[in-house]
């Protein structure tokens, strides 16, 4: 028991001494985990870049369960961290619940939406995922020889359907007869971390003729990319640049510049401008990845077509339907 008491004492002492310097930013990762090679890792990279460039320091926490969301927010706000940056759509309601209690703290919700009228100290950063997905959908349809391409989503939420819908629209724009097979891994947060199911979904889609598969599924996507590489077909990564995971086997990655969003939020610090910010192709918030690992896979025609579409979308000549605007998709049935 003395050992136990001592351990407890040490932990308590550590916790006390770790009290923060004022006005450092804080970062809360969603359940996918800090190093998911994808969405949350992009946030981490942005924070690291900020820390390196400014020499500042920040605190972060990986959530383990739904119940910790509000707790983590309150803890950071009470310790004086500012701004408190969070990733994932699930953080919006906890933020809406606590924001009024800490009017001097700025909260940032990436992927979430909090009404700026009600909570003036919250910045909601949204991405136009449908536009980025449209571009990789075009590339997938061009790279496909079978005319069938696949999509594997993580948890079945409107955001992931937004990816799928943009992807299908892009594919149909290139090849109106293209078949898009869309599958979701599950309906619970466990769906973000089940590579075994990801593999099975990829295998099922391959057997139905898919030869390019886009995985928007966090850790589950690693299983999809692995199986695609094993079976000799192409895959498309998501959020972070995942081309390096299987060089020559990953066609491209749909980039979502969460790192830029985090970096800019931290740079602005306590003077952060709140409200709603949408990062699309024009703001370079979304895009596709091109590097040495996939240079051989992306032909000049492909690149020209995609860049042309990109210009059109930015100029407003081409509208990509956003699934979340009316919960339906013209190019894909769920």
């Amino acid at each position: 028991m003395t050992f136990f008491a001592k351990t407890l004492g040490t932990v308590a002492a550590l916790a006390l001494s770790a009290g923060a310097a004022l006005a450092d930013p804080a970062l809360i990762y969603d359940l996918g985990g800090k190093f998911d090679k994808s969405f949350n890792e992009a946030a981490f990279n942005g924070a690291q870049r900020w820390a390196e460039e400014t020499g500042g320091s920040y605190r972060d926490i990986e959530l383990q369960s739904e119940a910790q969301r509000e707790q983590a927010l309150r803890r950071f706000a009470e310790a004086g961290f500012n701004p408190v940056v969070t990733t994932g759509f699930s953080m919006s309601s906890p933020i809406a619940a606590v924001a009024a209690d800490y009017p001097d703290t700025k909260f940032v919700t990436i992927d979430g939406f909090v009404d700026p009228g009600e909570h003036p100290n919250v910045l909601s950063i949204l991405f136009s995922e449908h536009e980025g997905s449209y571009l990789v959908g075009m590339m997938a349809a061009q790279a496909s020889t079978s005319g069938t391409i696949g999509f594997v989503g993580g948890m079945d939420i409107p955001l992931i359907r937004k990816f799928a819908c943009g992807y299908a629209q892009g594919a149909k724009a290139v090849n109106p007869d293209a078949t898009v097979i869309a599958n979701m891994t599950g309906t619970t947060p466990a769906a973000w971390n089940d590579p075994v199911k990801g593999s099975e979904l990829a295998k099922a889609q391959i057997s139905q003729g898919a030869d390019v598969i886009f995985a928007a599924a966090g850790g589950t996507g690693l299983g999809v990319l692995q199986t695609a590489a094993d079976e000799g077909i192409l895959s498309v990564g998501v959020d972070s640049n995942q081309n390096y995971l299987h060089p020559g086997k990953v066609l491209t990655s749909m980039l979502k510049r969460v790192d830029v969003a985090v970096f800019e939020s931290m740079t602005q610090g306590a003077d952060l401008e709140t409200g709603v910010k949408v990062l699309g192709l024009a703001q370079e918030g979304v895009g596709y990845a091109l590097d040495d690992n996939n240079a051989a896979l992306v032909s000049d025609d492909m690149k020209a077509a995609v860049d042309a579409a990109r210009e059109q979308i930015i100029a407003g000549d081409l509208a990509v339907h956003d699934y979340t605007s009316d919960d339906s998709c013209p190019a894909l049935n769920f």
Partner: protein, 321 residues
């Protein structure tokens, strides 16, 4: 639905059932001996990590398998120590082990590989490859039987065959050997076993260790057979589904295989067809995901037969004095 599709779905069923089956048989040994084991999930997770880590470091998947089994055995030993030697609550010990595995794997993985709680991807001999059974290509042209043999039965990793071989083996050990009789007796009436002069503690430890070996193989299959590396929480609740299958099978080996194949089949169907359109109405994928649990509840409620657990299950044995 044509034959090819059926074979693909069944093929997927076998892959998804294998970890369930191994974990289910593991639980069967343990629970038949009177030790409830809710920690199947944790043991699989621990084994998945250590098998992937050692397979990556040494480049040999067999060493990885050994390490995975060893890690799972350590977890079993802790469970045995807590619930047999110190007569603690078996459910609490199991839950604690699950938490321990969930945290420790990520912590150690981060310390060793610095890739955020995952192991690097395994390549070449670091993974179990799919083995082709003899004559698979010769039989292929034969209608129906050919594709079934070549695509469904052949072409899995060796651990799949091990898992299915474990079913008759488990039946034989439990119902045809002296050890099995004593093991079952220790789960029903440990005092009788004690009166006969046989060590209750020894038998229960043996059962818990066998459980550890089987969970170890299940975890290694997940990380080095199905996948090419460990990802945090990669067992994704399979240990709990295995427990449900165990109850569904009423603690019998052949039924366990049936239950695991059924649950695997339901998962495979849910993965292949998201929403099943039956004309008049659609079966949503969520229903398919929940079906194993619904079936288990139905069985537990006694609508279809009765699931009676081993009588001394969950009770630490206290020698009368």
């Amino acid at each position: 639905m044509d034959l090819d599709t059926i074979i693909q779905v069944l093929d997927s069923t076998i892959r998804l059932s294998t970890p369930l089956l191994l974990a289910c048989l593991a639980g069967l040994f343990s629970e038949r001996a009177g030790i409830f084991d809710i920690g199947l999930e944790g043991k699989m997770l621990m084994s998945a990590f250590f098998s992937a880590a050692v397979a990556f470091t040494t480049g040999s998947v067999w060493l990885g398998l050994l390490a995975g089994v060893a890690a799972s055995l350590v977890m079993s030993a802790i469970h045995g120590l807590a619930s047999i030697t110190f007569r603690g609550n078996q459910l609490i010990s199991g839950v604690a082990l699950n938490f321990l595995a969930s945290g420790m794997t990520v912590l150690i993985a981060q310390d060793w590989f610095s890739q955020g709680g995952r192991t690097p991807s395994l390549i070449g001999a670091g993974r179990f490859s799919e083995i082709t059974l003899p004559l698979a290509e010769t039989f292929r042209p034969i209608p129906v039987f050919g594709p079934i043999y070549a695509d469904l039965i052949s072409g899995h990793s060796i651990l799949v065959y091990v898992a299915f071989a474990c079913v008759p083996l488990t039946w034989w050990v439990l119902f045809r050997t002296r050890f099995g009789l004593r093991l079952r007796a220790v789960g029903e009436a440990p005092e009788a076993v004690d009166t006969a002069g046989i060590s209750v503690t020894g038998l229960r430890f043996a059962a818990v260790m066998i459980c550890g070996v089987l969970c170890g193989i299940a975890g290694a299959y997940l990380a080095t057979g199905l996948q090419a590396g460990f990802v945090r929480e990669m067992t994704a609740g399979r240990g709990y589904i295995a427990l449900a299958a165990l109850i569904f099978a009423k603690w019998r080996p052949w039924y366990a295989m049936g239950a695991c194949l059924l649950f695997g089949f339901l998962q495979a169907i849910a993965l292949r067809y998201q929403n099943i359109d039956l004309g008049a109405f659609t079966v949503p994928v969520q229903f398919m995901d929940a079906l194993p649990y619904i079936l288990t509840v139905v069985i537990l409620a006694g609508f279809v037969g009765k699931a009676i657990p081993p009588r001394a299950g969950g009770e630490p044995y206290v020698k009368e004095r």
